[in-house]
């Protein structure tokens, strides 16, 4: 297998603790005057994008920011609930950078790059400092100090939070920082603008093509570097905890232009979500993992138990997480908890009308701490639950089931967060970086902000100082050629004039992915999924119905473009899942297990799988970045 396309990951030498410092010390620098001449495009203004825009503008760069939303404040980061990790050790419970690093590496089942994860832990504390200085109202103790709680996969309390609205508060902090730079004229914000294509010249990223969602205008934008901060793609499952607009388009279109896609099949299914209750349901709402600090998860011991929860005596309840994983109990990591939930439901012990959920029970905690305390901690979450289900969670246990939630996979990046395409950087959920095969709770916010505030703004300067050529004009033929391709694709979509709605294709694709490339996967299922996806894609291009035109606000057309990309990307996910003949983290191959626990194969699969597009007619090529563990020993992941 050729490895020429996969560049060196640029991990600096030296001891683990010194690597980031070494990297910073050796970066080429640009003078303030030269920074002002450099233009950087940032696509996506969620936590990662907004924090990067603000910081790069503070450093003096000209920043052009793009979002398909009407405002940066609507990015899906706003929905993050439970909290953000940092190794501050404010609780004096033995936390340290090393422990946060180890927990994250182990949580990811030894499928992430050690040096990146160590850096993340080192930076985590500064993120909290920065956010507090911006006025982010984190929860506090009565004495005025910041409060912490625990999240899955950790035995210490290192999670900072703002009720169940941590993402909202952090995003509004970053939004404020970016707004300040917009006011100063250093960030130019383009809302309701969707990136359709990446533009390359001589192998470098030199700009993007966007569609104005109000007028349909297709435009070229050139810059010295392009940053993607476009979020995750769990929405491919149709029903997920993600927002309706979450998509893979920017990443996938860049992949088609040569960017490597790493570990695309590593997607997280979150254990605690409100289950599917009826056919029209369009969304699976997350109930934050933080609830597991006080909630106990159980099902009846006997299958088909028809009694109400409160009528089932203690001895006839199975607190299966506490039973199977006594050390971590209800705070076992997400992949393991989700599978355990699926298992008891598959055994026929699920509860609820459709028998496919488990109880998350707050009764013990209410008895111990009182209703007021639980309300103070989780009030808004529990209100949300009641709104949706019409059931009072203070009186009855919540019913939950796993749902698609987060993409660990994403575009491949090196230690500088640059993809294999020079000048194309990827941050936040859109890159594959730090979470390996499974992300721990409260670490996505940490990673997005580490990337945006502290890493990218430094490393991008190195690229710009070292070797960025003269900026390509947006009149260059590479732009007009790419504009034509984008326009052509839209015309083809509108020309289908078939009968089926976009949503119906999305639903069908979601079903295929959920059953064959979700919580459990096997060779047979994945192979049939690849066939079914390909057939569905053919139907889509033959029988799609879009009403309306290309030169107007047309939400169906926007949606169609995103689903068209999902229909191609789904196949890549399945291929990746097929090629990884092991179980690790959230990737669970039924063929590779010991009594239901994932069986890793370090000898053959201790690598990042980076896929290279080879044209529509060919299967993509797999490149492997070997993962070495100098600091963390690759042991069996044991939460018992």
């Amino acid at each position: 297998m050729s490895s020429s396309i996969l560049p060196d990951a640029r991990v600096p030498g030296g001891g683990m603790e010194q690597k980031w410092e070494h990297c910073l010390d050796n970066l080429h620098l640009l003078s303030p005057a030269n920074k002002r001449k450099k233009k950087i495009i940032v696509v996506g203004t969620g936590l990662a994008g907004a924090s990067a825009c603000a910081t790069m503008a503070e450093l003096g760069y000209q920043v052009e920011a793009f979002t398909f939303h009407d405002s940066p404040r609507r990015a899906h980061s706003i929905a993050a609930q439970g909290g953000i990790n940092a190794s501050k050790n404010y609780c004096n419970d033995g936390d340290s950078d090393f422990r946060l690093f180890m927990d994250t590496i182990k949580g990811g089942d030894f499928r992430s790059r050690e040096a990146n994860v160590y850096r993340l832990a080192q930076i985590s504390g500064s993120i909290i400092d920065q956010c507090v200085a911006q006025g982010v109202p984190f929860a506090r103790e009565y004495d005025g100090h910041l409060d912490n709680r625990s999240f899955g996969g950790a035995l210490v309390s290192r999670t900072f939070y703002a009720k169940g609205q941590t993402g909202q508060q952090l995003l509004l902090g970053a939004y404020g920082a970016m707004n300040r730079q917009i006011h100063l004229g250093k960030v130019h914000l383009h809302t309701r603008s969707e990136m359709l294509e990446l533009v390359l010249k001589d192998g470098r990223a030199c700009g993007i093509i966007t569609r104005n969602l109000l007028t349909g205008e297709i435009r070229s934008h050139s810059a010295d570097a392009v940053v993607l901060a476009t979020g995750g793609y769990s929405n491919i499952y149709h029903r997920s905890t993600n927002a309706a607009g979450s998509n893979v388009t920017a990443s996938y279109r860049s992949y088609r232009r040569g960017a490597l896609f790493a570990n695309p099949s590593f997607t997280q299914i979150h254990p605690t979500c409100i289950p599917v209750m009826h056919a029209h349901q369009s969304k699976l709402t997350l109930m934050s993992e933080s609830l597991r600090n006080h909630g106990r998860i159980w099902v009846p011991v006997a299958a088909d138990d028809q009694r109400e929860a409160r009528d089932i005596p203690e001895t006839e309840r199975d607190y299966f997480l506490e039973r199977k994983y006594p050390a971590y109990g209800n705070l076992s990591p997400r992949d393991i908890s989700s599978r355990a939930v699926k298992q008891v439901c598959d055994e026929g012990r699920g509860v609820g009308a459709l028998k496919h959920s488990v109880y998350l029970d707050l009764q013990d905690a209410i008895q111990q701490h009182g209703t007021a305390f639980i309300e103070q901690q989780y009030g808004n979450l529990l209100d949300m639950y009641q709104h949706i289900t019409n059931v009072n969670p203070y009186q009855h246990p919540l019913q939950i089931y796993p749902a698609a939630h987060y993409s660990m996979g994403g575009l491949w990046v090196d230690y500088h967060l640059m993809s294999n395409i020079p000048g194309l950087f990827v941050i936040g959920e859109a890159n594959f970086s730090d979470h390996g095969a499974n992300r721990l709770g409260a670490s996505a916010l940490m990673q997005g902000l580490a990337d945006g505030y502290f890493i990218l703004p430094q490393t991008i300067g190195h690229y710009l100082a070292e070797n960025a050529p003269v900026r390509v004009s947006d009149h260059d033929p590479v732009f007009s050629a790419t504009v034509e391709e984008a326009q052509d694709r839209i015309s083809r979509l509108l020309a289908i004039k078939g009968k089926r709605s976009v949503a119906s294709f999305h639903r069908e694709l979601g079903d295929i992915m959920w059953h064959h490339c979700g919580m459990a996967r096997n060779q047979l299922g994945l192979n049939s999924a690849i066939e079914n996806i390909s057939a569905l894609r053919a139907q889509f291009w033959a029988n799609l119905n879009i009403v309306g035109s290309a030169t107007d606000l047309n939400q169906t057309l926007e949606y169609a473009g995103r689903v068209a990309d999902y229909l191609e990307f789904a196949e890549l996910m399945c291929r990746d899942a097929l090629a990884r003949e092991e179980s690790c983290g959230a990737h669970y191959r039924a063929e590779h297990q010991i009594q239901g626990e994932a069986k890793r194969n370090d000898k053959q699969f201790s690598h990042v799988a980076a896929w290279h597009f080879q044209g529509d007619a060919n299967t993509p090529q797999l490149h492997k970045e070997p993962l070495n563990f100098d600091c963390a020993k690759q042991v069996e992941r044991n939460y018992r």
């Binding site: 503070e58 404040r73 911006q134 109202p137 309706a244 029209h280 369009s282 709605s501």
Partner: protein, 261 residues
């Protein structure tokens, strides 16, 4: 259940709009309001008619995208609820439900039920933040904030920027929205240096964008899906008066004489 949705259709900003009735059947009490619009849209598209344009994203009450006037109430009949969290069990079977966009000069209609809320962003851009460069911050526990104060700052900070307060106000005033941010930052020690500057700049920006004045109708807090309390408006007024007295450049942190709640 079945319903008739009487929906505002307006092809573009400049076109005239009108209400059009769409009957729909087979709806469950646990279906969400937006899922009903989706069902109508699927029917419309099957008949080659343009679907109803409306905004939503998170569908869990936090992004502030959804924004419908339902039977004349912003976000519909249920208190402290966004449109996306409204379920059909709140309506009676057979009901005709009117669905319109927000109406305010500063939030013009773009198409059907979608309005342009960028004026709200521009107010925030004017001064709705604490100026601190990345990397400048001291340790997070260096400045203590009492729990009571932090909780109140959080309460104000939970605004989702939906604009329901503006839509509900007879004057289309943005006072509740602006006050929520001003009060959040005025309550925190980190917000003191720019406190006077912030409130003056944001109120000026609000006026510039053409939002109306507040004449104490109090419809805003009724409509607010996040229960931002009315008291933030009184607090904003005090902040504004105080800033008028001391001047824009007055730094509350340096003088420590300001009124604190």
């Amino acid at each position: 259940m079945k319903f008739i949705l009487s929906v505002w259709r307006q092809p573009s900003a400049t076109a005239t709009g009108r209400l059009v009735d769409y009957p729909i059947d087979g709806i469950g009490a646990d279906d969400s309001f937006l899922e009903v619009i989706d069902a109508i849209n699927e029917n419309l598209m099957a008949q080659q008619q343009e679907p109803i344009a409306y905004e939503m994203d998170c569908r869990e009450g936090i992004c502030g995208s959804c924004s419908l006037m339902i039977n004349g109430s912003a976000h519909g009949p249920q208190r402290a609820t966004t449109t996306c969290q409204l379920y059909m069990r709140e309506f009676s079977d057979g009901e005709t439900i009117t669905v319109e966009p927000w109406r305010a000069d500063a939030l013009p209609v773009i198409k059907d039920l979608i309005v342009d809320r960028s004026a709200m962003d521009r107010i925030m851009q004017s001064a709705g933040y604490i100026s601190v460069h990345t990397g400048e911050a001291p340790d997070a526990n260096e400045i203590l904030v009492s729990k009571h104060r932090a909780d109140r700052a959080f309460e104000a900070a939970s605004c989702i920027g939906c604009g329901a307060c503006i839509a509900a106000c007879p004057n289309a005033s943005a006072m509740l929205f602006v006050a929520a941010k001003v009060v959040q930052l005025a309550l925190l020690p980190q917000g003191q240096p720019e406190r006077c500057h912030r409130v003056i700049s944001m109120v000026e920006a609000m006026d510039r964008e053409g939002f109306g004045n507040c004449s104490n109708h109090y419809e805003c807090a009724e409509a607010c899906p996040k229960s931002i309390p009315l008291s933030v408006i009184a607090h904003l007024n005090r902040e504004f008066l105080q800033a008028g007295l001391f001047g824009r450049e007055f730094s509350a942190a340096a003088h420590r004489v300001v009124h604190e709640e």
